[in-house]
Amino acid sequence: MEVLKNKFSGFMIPLVSVILGLLAGAIIMLFSGYDPILAYTALFNGIFSNTYVMGETIRQFTPLILSGLAVAFAFRTGLFNIGVEGQLLVGWLASVYVGLQFDGLTPFLHIPLAILAAAAAGALWGVVPGFLKAKYHVHEVITTIMMNYIALHVVNAIIRSYLLAPGERTETIHQSASLASAYLQSITDFSRLHYGFLVAIIGAIIMWFLLWKTTLGYELRAVGFNTNASQYAGINVSRNIVLSMVISGAFAGVAGSMEGLGTYGYMSILSAFTGIGFDGIAVSLLGANSAIGVVLAAALFGGLKIGALNMQSVAQVPTQLIEIVIALIIFFVASSYLIRWFSNRLNKRGKI
């Protein structure tokens, strides 16, 4: 019963936040002269009405799951990884680089190799802040943010100097490294759905297993909660801080490979961040830093973003409104104190 209650309240806050966020969105629409019922119907249809939009939704949230996992993993071990965006970019580039090599390799080797390269690149980008934190107590928020900018410019410079193809981008990767699938495209009315979602689900399972079922996860969590007690227990605190950033960075790198090997098959010179890494923070927050929660939250965000397109064309509501709704949901989750208060009130009245 106790477990049930905990689980319930664990789900309660995100759920209430989503409802409140949508309600607030409706109110904003009313005030701006739109029809919220029409808009939300369009939104819903925009996610579920046909296989094409469903395919696009899944494609949209695949990298979000992984970037959410990256943030959640670090958070579980007491670190704020704001550098997912940068780790994702280097991962993207690494996957594309490997995808451009090894012509003729079987996909069964080429794809894992490219994904591993992405993970390694992201991990490498995580080592730096992890090391600085463990060794010199430099706060990881500052270093990871700086690493984001370094990633953006380094990646652009590498593409420009070594991999440039017409159109400010790299060449397209070999077919053998591509996650794209004619079969998936055909069953979803030619959406860009690719096999990456399987990778993301596997990622979620790995994170759950690693954190809760292994001695490594035990150590990482212990360090996250209480470094003094960890030291007392003989756990190497510095090593675990670095390791945590490495694993988190690896998840982020793999998120990048979803774009590199799946959606695009190449990498463009970027004028700005993709935002996927930053959205990962929101996804992780809404998903209460749990693997299953991150998957659900990413699905919700991906759905809202794809559905917003239909909302715009049917109800003329600008897609920015969904950005506002997402921001509000995050706001409500973050101020969960408010919601707890709210639900306490309700409980009391219900109980008399």
Partner: protein, 508 residues
């Protein structure tokens, strides 16, 4: 008769447990009212209800005869109820004055007037004899002074009724004596006090009446003048309690711990352990007696590997372990009940079960090739919970939700169960009820009789005298004397601890 505080038929539930079940507490104006009960009986919970931190499921609260609804601590403040929590709630980087006025700042044209505040703080501290330095930072002052700051905080907010939750558990005997004087002074000034403590001596000394709760249920209220410690103890535990430790003579064997010329510095580079030598044999309990701050903490941390020794040598079972990593030392046969259970002893957000394997999670049978064997861990936890009577709804409950005393019992269970060659027990019974203390002491003796060495550090001279086979007195980072408990007494120990000498100095 009108009571300043009357809590009637309070019921408070937590997931899986009823912490307060129909408890009634009546406090008279101007009395010190003791609240007594075993670990986990529900004392802190009841006081948190009174202070507005928890909402009861049932029951009524009356303050000076008026029914009140205490929805949060601000309401409690307005009603004149103040609480000194066991774990202080102070801002380390703030000064004493800033901490006291926090949330109630005196304003001058919108700006906080710190000078005026400091004056006010000084005035109150004079009035009640609570010596503090208004300008000192919290992180720089002693635990005893921090507690006085907590008391001043409640007085500054105009508290008439003060709740003290185990205030003496963290204090040294001297500080306890001062606190008792302060409480008497508060009563003279017309306040009323509710005091939670496990020390029956203190109850007998300062309290007027005592309410006993057992497993969440109110057992009754007695006049202190008409009772005695034995009766109180059996009221709370439900059986007779044996205060003296039953143990036969020690049979010391080969040396287990050898410390030679150890020097350990604190964070500022000041040597706290200064050329200390000590040796410990298997089959004996050595108690370290000393005033707080004479190097005890640094000594333990150096032995356990949590702090580097500057020079000297530490040998465990003949093996040099000086400045080895904590894990290596643990594996060489060390168990450690740490002084600060929240800082070192537990990961509060881990379940009780996970905490039970904090030192062994990476070994068989609790894991295999890096994969945790949760069923095995939980099985072990269950048996430890049972053997050591850790009161918890289940082994899955987060350690944070346990009462202070039960957290302590969980740590002791974990460390003693491994039956290490050397067991370091720092304040092992801090915050435990008399029944639990009896049990833990017998466990320490049991380890001794198995041939293990036990090094116990305690501020309780009773405990030192009762449990130890030899007493090593520490003063300014040195062992200044070693005495046999049957050949000394509290007075002599007190003298030695203050740097005095015995007539005939014993050999080391």
């Amino acid at each position: 008769m009108e009571y300043v505080i009357e809590m009637r038929n309070i019921r408070k539930e937590f997931p899986g447990i009823v912490a307060n079940d129909n408890v009634t507490l009546q406090v008279q104006q101007g009395e010190i009212h003791a609240l007594l009960g075993e670990n986990g009986a529900g004392k802190s919970t009841l006081m948190n209800v009174l202070f507005g931190l928890y909402q009861p499921e049932q029951g009524e609260i009356y303050v000076k005869g008026k029914k009140v609804n205490i929805t949060d601590p601000n309401v409690a403040n307005d009603l004149g109820i103040g609480m000194v929590h066991q774990h202080f709630m102070l801002v380390e980087k703030f000064t004493v004055t800033e901490n006291i006025i926090l949330g109630n700042e005196p304003r001058d044209k919108g700006r906080v007037n710190l000078k005026k505040a400091a004056k006010e703080v000084e005035a109150i501290s004079k009035q009640y004899g609570l010596k503090v330095d208004p300008y000192a930072k919290i992180e720089d002052i002693s635990v005893g002074m921090q507690q006085r700051v907590e008391i001043l905080k409640t007085l500054y907010r105009g508290a008439e009724i003060l709740i003290f939750d185990e205030p003496t558990a963290v204090l040294t005997p001297q500080e306890i004596h001062e606190l008792i004087q302060i409480m008497k002074r508060l009563i003279e000034e017309g306040k009323s006090i509710i005091l939670i403590t496990h020390k029956l001596k203190e109850i007998m000394e300062v309290c007027d009446r005592c309410t006993v709760i057992r497993r969440g249920k109110g057992i009754g209220t007695v006049d202190i003048s008409e009772t005695n410690p034995d009766e109180l103890a059996s009221m709370m535990v439900g059986r007779e309690v044996n205060f003296s430790v039953e143990k036969g003579p020690a049979h010391p064997k080969e040396e287990v711990l050898q410390i030679e010329n150890l020097v350990v510095e604190d964070a500022r580079g000041v040597p706290q352990v200064n050329d200390l030598s000590l040796s410990l044999k298997g089959g004996e309990i050595v108690g370290i007696a000393g005033v707080d701050g004479n190097g005890q903490t640094e000594l333990i941390e150096a032995i356990t590997g949590l702090r580097k020794a500057k020079s000297g040598m530490i040998k465990l079972s003949g093996k040099d372990i000086t400045n080895h990593k904590p894990r290596k030392i643990t594996e060489s046969g060390l168990g450690h009940i740490p002084q600060d259970r929240h800082k070192h002893g537990l990961v509060l957000d881990f379940s009780v079960g996970e905490n039970m394997v904090l030192q062994t999670y990476y070994q068989k049978p609790y894991s295999n090739k890096g994969v945790l064997k949760l069923p095995k861990i939980m099985e072990k936890a269950k048996s430890l919970i049972k053997e050591y009577d850790v009161r918890t709804p289940s082994e899955m409950t987060p350690a944070r939700a346990l009462s202070g005393g039960n957290q302590q019992k969980a740590i002791i269970a974990r460390e003693v169960d491994r039956s290490p060659n050397l067991l370091i027990a720092a304040q092992p019974t801090r915050g435990l009820d008399v029944g639990a203390i009896e049990f833990i002491h017998s466990k320490l003796v049991e380890e001794r009789d198995k041939g293990k060495a036990v090094l116990m550090i305690s501020f309780e001279l009773d405990e030192i005298l009762n449990v130890s086979d030899r007493i090593a007195v520490i003063y300014e980072g040195k062992i200044v004397d070693i005495v046999k408990p049957e050949e000394t007494n509290e007075q002599e120990l007190g003298l030695l601890m203050a740097g005095g000498k015995r007539e005939k100095v014993g050999d080391q």
